[in-house]
Amino acid sequence: MKKILKYVLASVSVLAFAGCSEFLTEETNGQVFDNVLTSQEGLEAALTGAYNGLNSPWAHGLCNGTFQQLVSGGDDIYCPTSDANGTQLDRCGVTDSNGSFGSTWNGLYKVVLGANTVINNYEKCTGSTETIPVIAGEAYFLRAYAYFMLVRLWGEIPLIKSSSYDEEEASMSASSEAEVYRLIESDIDNAVNMLGDARRNNEIGRPNKLVARALRAEIYLTEAGWPLKKEGYYEKAATEAKAVLDASEAQGVELAESCADLFINKEEENCITTEDLFVIPASTTDYIVFYGAWCEPSEIGGWDIIFAEVGFMEKFPEGPRKEATFYTEYTKKGENGAPDEVISWQNWKQKHPGILKLMKYPQGGKNNVANCNSVLPAHMLRLSQTALTYAEAEARTKAPSQEAYYWLNRIRTRAGLSEYSGLSQQEFIDAVVDERAWELAGEGVRWFDLLRLELVEKSFENKNNEYDPTMLRKSDRYTFPLPASETLLNPNLNPKN
């Protein structure tokens, strides 16, 4: 028995004192750490992670209906009063706790952080010396795109360049718009320099040099207006846009034949057009949400969140483009053999027309909506916008040229409108601004145009709603206050602190 005891005690002490350090080692099977970033595969994976910020269905990104709400301050989009978040945004009286911020703000910063991971690591990365700079170029493009969106929506924002959590940044202050644009410009320059002429892997979701230049034209155009009003930037915008227009045809990018082709929105087609420059593609896993119930009236099973402004539609020139832009009536299937009934927007619950571009190809009557996840792409930038950017930017620097007329009139004739000629410089500019509103209605452009051109208050007239537009306004700026969820964690973000 004493032998047994000795054996037990011996084994106890061996277990106790010998195997300890190994016993307490954490096995990290299945975990991915940052050492993978030294390989091209790791860098590629991090880039994909950056793109994910643009669209993670329902979670974050620009493809939820909340993004349309954020730009509903424009006179093209209307949000009904049944939703407090939408009401604030539509009436330009936005508080810092607005519940529609999250998806867009979080998604864009996920793009930034993912892009930072690529940008801060690509130089140390081993792999194809041809591909790695293009990966980095896409990351620069994404970061420029994300900051450009953020700075236009929120104004002064925190500027993050690090790729891992930095405690000091938790208490940083917001950067001025000038600082943000400085980084945006540097990033888009890098993107233009590093991207190739073709989209990598021929994938429509990736930018090439042409797309980066088109974005650069938009950036210049915006910098020329409020709040920076940079000198010489209309000229730069015009030059850049023209370069894109000149190079586009050779790359197979050209204006679509008809307005009806632009937003077919039938799920059985791939819905990419010849003029798409930057799109967020969709699949059954990475679907686009807003085409579903968000932008549909409840009469056809939608949620009554996004509509068109009545005044905007009334001023909208008639023609095929108008037909392709608005959803004004639906057919109610007759019950028990009764004839079908056409019910127009005036008799809908919210008494506003829908924006057809943002809807799935309407399925028909009540209860016929399949679902709110669609496999339609989100069109973020198309050549028509670049054409109008060129026309406007050039007209702001000199008398409109033949070429400016050419591009404006191409857009107008496609919309079934008469060609312009002989306009004064100001008339021409006004015409382009209106044309942009109509051509790009519901595409998140009008709100930013109103901001850069300081037309927000003037646009209230077009909204045709019974409220005092200045009633809810609490600041002299129309950019949004930073989300309360951020300023509570970091009070230094608020200028008053």
């Binding site: 307490l24 992670g49 508080t95 519940g99 999250g102 930034v112 896993t285 619950k349 679902n371």
Partner: protein, 1015 residues
Amino acid sequence: MNLFTKRMAGFCMSLLLLCGLAVDSHAFAQGATNSPAPVTGVVKDAQGMPVVGVAVIENGTTNGVTTDVDGRFSISVSGDAVLEIRALGYKVVNLPVKSGGNYDVMLEVDAKVLDDVVVIGYGTVRKSDLTGSLASVGSDAFQDQKVTRVDQALQGRASGVQISNTVGAPGGDVRIRVRGANSVLGDNSPLFVVDGFVGVDFNSINPNDIKSIEVLKDASSTAIYGSRGANGVILITTKSGSTNGKVNVSYEGNVTVSSIIKNYDLLSAGEYAEMYNAHQTAFGLDPVFSLDEVQSYYENGGFDYVDAVLRTAISHQHQLSIDGGSEKTQWRVSGNYLDQQGIIKNSDYERFNLRARLNTKINDRLSFRFNVNASASTGKNNAGTSGANTILNQALAWAPTTDPYNEDGTYVVNDPTGSLKSNPLALLYDAEQISEKTFLTALAGANYVILPGLSVDFQAAVDKLFDKEKSYTGPEAAGSSPSSAGVTDSKGTTVQTTTQLSYNRDFGKHTINAVAAFETQTYHYASTTATATGLTFPDLKYDNLKQASSYETESGYSMWTLVSYLARLNYSYDGRYLASVSVRHDGSSKFSEGNKFSTFPAAALAWNVANESFMRDVPVLSALKLRASWGLTGSQAIEPYATKSAFGSASYTFAMGGTTTSGIALSDPANSNLKWETTEQWNFGIDLGLFKNRLLLEADYYTKTTRDLLLNKGVTAYQGGGSIVSNIGSIRNSGFDFTLTGRIVETKDFSLESTVNFSILKNRVLDLGEDDTVYVATNLTGINDGAYDFIYRVGEPLGTIYGLKYLGPWQKEDAALAAEYGCVPGDARYEDRDNSKTYDSSDYQIIGYGMPKYTLGWNTNFRWKNLSVNMFFQGVFGADKLNYNRCIFMSASRDVRGATFSEVKDRYIPGVNEDAYLPAWSPTSTWYPVSSLWLENGSYLRLKNLSIAYDFSVRKIGDFTVSLNATNLFTITNYKGIDPEASNVGGGTSDVQQGLDYGAYPNSKSYTLGLSIRF
């Protein structure tokens, strides 16, 4: 427990006496041949039960006998004599007798010898020698309630233990807390130890197998569990076989009928249509229902969705156990089957349990033991779901004016007027959540006595949990999303070894009880998940995921190890002065080098004042003990790998119709400096017994201070969002636990015993590092996206509710001021703290406290002959609840476009009802979800159990007990919801969020008929 132990002890005592007296009694028997008729009698206890093995000795002689199994004795004495009747745990009776007489003797429990043995960590101790604070619950305390899970046995029966059935579904989530919540991040549930196996899932335990439950509360008791002791420890000892050579077979069965605890007060279809039109009008829109339609709904009614999803549920439970054994070997096997239905249709829980236990003594020195427990359960739709798209929420949301069926009998997918979400009937019949869990635990141990008092013990145990979670959402339930299904398979394995040296010895008046042990635990977990979206053949559900338009797979792995050294020394002098010191040294793989190990010491002192000679003359006082203890315990409130920054998965689609590309994205940042969270606890207690212990009071005061508090500090979204864990901050729980037991009447035929326990808990955040406040958003309703509803703040408790303060509707006389807010009279008015004329984040403030301050349990047992009655009240006081139901089902906005609650009739209506609490419906009136508009007092007192049991014997068959009991018969509360106990948050783990009700699965009212037979 008391009774059981006492009888066992009495039996052992009698065996000893028998051995000692065997020779003598033989001699006496001879000598008594010519004596007159013997004295006979029966010895019974206060409950009238015969007491076996009682020593009956003629005073002043060595003449003695013991009682038989029926408590009878027969002793020959010469003429008049005095018999001394003694049994362990009872007072000695001196009975004057005459030869030939027949006497009934009733034994009284000896209050001064509280010799119950209680289980403490890594050993046992006589209750009178206890230095720490523990609550002991024996199986007899809950056997009449027909409990199906351990928490029901404990709820209200142990002071300092707070239990809430936050999810009323069968097998649903429950919140168990011992002396409050110490950790923000970690699970504050206590540690369950079953027969020495540490860290058992209490769901795997069949309560009918439990002999006793000991809740260790103070640090001197829990520090022996070191890094896992901070939340209290619940020790469960399972029943073992008998030692008397008999085989016992018992059957217990019961059937339960349950229904919803209270009915919702909903608008009728006619009222609904009328209210809907009123809402339209208030928003300047046309009415939706014509006058004829409204009238028709009033006359013909609509569809009652709530009634359609609820049912009267029937459940049953059966248990068979067989045990037997001798002094050398004891064995017990039991099987249990439980089939529970939930009151929401299609929700149920089924469990099979098998437990076997074998103890054997090879010789005086060596013994072995072997325990096996197998438990297989299937829970269907019984999880604590939250969010809008749940059956109950949609049953409340769908317009009663909407017919749920299409003409062809399929479910209507979209409600044209009310809800934006799925048809509740589709959610009920076209969706499933199935959780199949199989627990297997095997434990083997050996004990060897080296020297008298010194023994070495080795125990090894393995615990496996196979978990399969299956889900299915069919096309009709998915509504506006595609159908989907998924399966997650996981396996967790825990292996524990414990090697222990124990030394227990009395040296005169000194008693020493020492233990030293070495313990290891390893845990490995692996899982695979497959999900599919857009099912080609929805009927195949989760059983053929390939038939879908897209699918995803994931797999995961994690592990941790823990190594521990522990020692404890208990010392007692003359049963008067007691001391205990213990230490545990734990090392965990979860921390980085240098932070892996920590030491958890504890000490306790107790003074049994009643055992002092000077107290013998105080007849009223039968027990008095003063206790004090101090100790440190820990919590490993972090998940494995928290010290290492890893990437998560993120995907993107680069081409139309293309496949998804997987990528990586930053997850929560890591902190490599993490260390143990440590809780320091002081405890001061008093045990007082009065009137021969007919009245017993146990009172404890404690403070628990947790330092190096692990906090999930929110990371701003611009830095990636999520949170980072750090050891910052401190939390204190302090409070009083009282238990008052009164054995009010104690006679042969009639007894009445009542126990009240009451706990006061004060929880305070003391320090949050650099921050003053941490904000938490539950996003429960889906309509307050991103808005915070909870905070924790220095000086405030966890579960503090943070929102706008509602001031009632704007009044007419304040119209001018209201206009500055863009409001009109009748609109909701909130406190504008910074006078900014707008309601924004700077106006948010503390509006309530979700954590209960007081808990009460009151258990009364009444017995008259064979009839016994148990009445058990349970109460929670001083807790606020945010009743989101009222917000969602009266606001008529967003996801639920029509009001369904009757209360909405009482809203402010200009010119009609201007003296209202609820604001008006108007385009400028915002009914903020996170506001005191919906805050209510969640206090309640509930008759948790009322049972009547009748015992009777049937000759040659066995003993029978028939019982009838009612659970949750009535509740006294001001809470307007269905069930103040139910909550969507603060279930199993979280204490930061507590007391939200948004269609939480309510508890049910139930009646149980039970039968038990002992052969």
